[in-house]
């Protein structure tokens, strides 16, 4: 290909960006990095898969003991143990993804500083890896669902809708946190506290119906609450209080939607703005 080589057109070089380098490369890298990370956690250790199940199951066992034997919550919700397990696994997805994403860009310093790596792949791959783990954990949840006598419902098929809503929020938060943590290194510490607060501000260990009326409306302004409540209705208990009635009016739901949209917009905006400079700030 010497003399006859086609004249290539000069293209502008814009520097690093969140997506940079074409969509095929972006998605292939995203997939490859996530699968790699997933394999590392599951096949890198002797117990592999079992090990990753131990954590949610142990947490589940402790909480189940405390809340059925001490606080007697068991009777307040239909299929409380399964609900508890499902909630732990679902929130685990959110918590694990955002928690790992905060430090992800910092942890991949070498790649960021020395290769032209599409920046957004880094936090998103963390979310995808958490999603893989979630998929495996769901197998156990389904076993429990059937074992506790929850009748299969057609609404189980709506789980992807719930997941999409949760994942969009998680991805945007992951992008936001990972970019912020490069500039302000204490974001990671602050986030662990916020994540813990969210854990209690979302009906995970308690069913929504035992919360006093006024507080319940307030909780519905947390964008995670409607998502978890709807998941409960669709997956475990079709008789549970509807999202609309729990909110007691449109206001909390509007607030939740506004927060949801604001976090997403902020995440995308901040990451796009920071992406070109990330390599210099590390």
């Amino acid at each position: 290909m010497s003399a006859g080589a086609p004249q290539l057109e000069l293209r502008e070089v814009h520097g690093p960006s969140a997506l940079g380098g074409g969509s095929r490369r972006f998605f292939e890298l995203l997939w490859l990095v996530s699968v790699t990370e997933f394999k590392k956690t599951f096949f890198g250790t002797v117990l592999g898969y079992v090990w990753s199940l131990v954590r949610p199951l142990l947490l589940f066992a402790v909480l189940l003991l405390v809340f059925t034997q001490i606080f007697k919550l068991g009777s307040q919700a239909t299929h409380y143990p399964v609900l508890l397990l499902f909630n732990i696994v679902l929130f685990g997805l959110f918590q694990e993804a955002t928690g790992a994403a905060v430090t992800s860009v910092l942890a991949q310093e070498g790649i960021v500083r020395k290769t032209q790596f599409p920046r957004l792949v880094i936090p998103l791959s963390v979310v995808l890896t958490a999603l893989f783990t979630f998929g495996l954990n769901m197998i156990v949840v389904v076993v429990f669902l059937l074992a506790f006598g929850v009748d299969p419902m057609w609404t189980w098929l709506l789980l992807p809708v719930i997941l999409s809503a949760l994942l969009l929020l998680t991805c945007c938060l992951a992008a936001l946190l990972s970019a912020l943590n490069v500039r302000f290194r204490d974001v990671a510490i602050i986030w662990t506290v916020i994540a813990l607060a969210l854990n209690y501000a979302t009906p995970i260990i308690y069913p929504l119906n035992i919360v006093p009326e006024g507080l319940k409306h307030l909780l519905m302004a947390n964008p995670l609450t409607p998502i978890f409540q709807q998941a409960r209705i669709w997956i475990i208990d079709s008789q549970a209080e509807s999202v609309g009635s729990a909110a007691g009016g449109p206001l909390p739901l509007i607030a939740a939607a506004a927060i949801y949209v604001a976090v997403c917009v902020l995440g995308v905006w901040v990451f796009r703005r920071e992406a070109p400079r990330i390599a210099e700030m590390l």
């Binding site: 010497s2 290539l8 070089v13 690093p16 095929r24 890198g44 020395k114």
Partner: protein
């Protein structure tokens, strides 16, 4: 603004393929905000009123150049001159603050060997990941594996995790991944001299091959031998600005000159024993124009100048000077004494001046001037000894031998006799 001075050597011009510009940079600017006090936590951001103080460091100033297809283009400069920053801008790792960079063709940047290698993955997985990172589809990335491993001579370790590789093996794999990437433009930062001697030879061969091929290489290095060996053209960066663009050997020489430049009247490096009967006051080398220099082109005439002062009376002084090369071989020696028409004795306070032209036959390289002073014309009565009066760097293509001499020796073949 930089000017385009260099010409691609004739062989490549004749090729006809060297004409297309594949990298074009115009007025590229880059500054880094160097924090004198960096605010890197939200707590500090909230609790302090100041915005933090910054100093702007201009890493690149209006850098403009063009690289044509098939060129092996060197970027040289001292540490901190902006070479790596420029390379990172070309590689889209940093964003330029100003100016414009345009490029044609697929690019493979190698800022550091083995970046992005995951120690927990096998060679097979890493090669695939690396290929995808370079923008290849996965199937193509996988199909390169054989060639990469063959070049690296690591076929038997394909399923071993990289964390179990020796550093030499790792470097071989990294170099091989770079060589086997089929990108049209390679950006390479200081990666030569890896592996054992045999592998180095292999790398050198590959570089020569690339030099003659249609692939374009931008190559950052400190190794001037490599520049002269591989590069068609080179650019010299100095404090972020383009100082020179031209033929590789000329730029390499300018780099050496820049590197060994000192303040012109820095004086004597090592004056020897300060309590001796004679003191060294100053010593320097002048070029043809009478300018003090530390660097000189091979073969260019020089003048040696040394000023001394007698502190106490010295009977029958003799002065010895020698230029020694980097291997400490004394290449040129001078033995001098006071002129015959005056008493062969120095009185306290008398100034001695040694000066005159020297036929510069020094071979290219770094040289040191040494000095000995004896009394009574007796080599066992040492008055003063300085092993390092000054440095002189002779610029030019390396030759074998300690001196370069003019000669008319030619080769001819006698066609008549068969």
């Amino acid at each position: 603004m930089a000017v385009q001075t260099g010409q691609i050597d004739a062989s490549r011009e004749a090729d006809g393929s060297a004409s297309a510009v594949v990298i074009e940079a115009t007025g590229v600017e880059k500054s880094f905000r160097v924090p004198t006090h960096r605010i890197d936590s939200l707590k500090e951001r909230i609790t302090t009123f100041s915005q933090g103080s910054f100093k702007d460091l201009r890493a690149l100033r209006e850098v403009s150049f063009e690289v044509r297809r098939g060129e092996f283009y060197g970027i040289v400069g001292r540490n901190g001159s902006g070479k790596s920053t420029l390379l990172k801008i070309l590689a889209s790792i940093y964003a330029a603050d100003g100016g414009r960079v345009r490029m044609a063709g697929r690019l493979a940047p190698f800022i550091e060997l083995g970046v992005g290698f995951n120690p927990d993955l096998t060679a097979r997985e890493n090669v695939e990941l690396n290929g995808v990172m370079m923008g290849l589809p996965r199937s193509e990335a996988r199909s390169r594996l054989g060639a990469v491993l063959e070049f690296a001579e690591l076929e038997e370790f394909v399923d071993m995790k990289l964390k179990n590789y020796s550093s030499g093996m790792l470097v071989r794999l990294a170099f091989s991944v770079m060589i086997q990437s089929d990108a049209e433009i390679l950006l390479i930062d200081e990666v030569l001299a890896v592996g054992d001697a045999a592998f180095q030879q292999k790398c050198a061969d590959v570089f020569r091959e690339i030099r003659e091929s249609d692939r374009t290489v931008v190559f950052v290095t400190h190794d001037m031998n490599a520049v002269e060996q591989y590069c068609h053209r080179a650019m010299l960066l100095d404090r972020g600005a383009v100082r020179e663009i031209g033929a590789a050997d000329e730029v390499a020489r300018s780099y050496l000159r820049l590197n060994f430049e000192r303040a012109p009247d820095a004086g004597v490096e090592d004056a020897g024993d300060a309590t001796a009967d004679i003191r060294l006051l100053d010593a320097w080398v002048e070029d043809e124009g009478g300018k003090r220099v530390n660097t000189v082109d091979a073969g260019a005439p020089i003048r040696l100048n040394v000023e001394m002062e007698a502190v106490r009376e010295v009977e029958g002084p003799s002065f010895g000077f020698a230029f020694a090369n980097a291997e400490d071989v004394e290449v040129i020696g001078l033995g001098l004494a006071l002129p015959g028409e005056r008493p062969d004795r120095l009185r306290p306070g008398e100034r001695i001046r040694v000066a005159g032209p020297i036929d510069n036959r020094l071979a290219p390289g770094r040289h040191v001037l040494k000095c000995w002073i004896h009394r009574d014309h007796n080599l066992s009565n040492l008055v003063l000894h300085s092993p390092h009066v000054l440095d002189l760097v002779v610029l030019g293509a390396p030759i074998s031998g300690v001196v370069s001499v003019e000669h008319d020796v030619t080769v001819s073949v006698d066609e008549e006799q068969r």
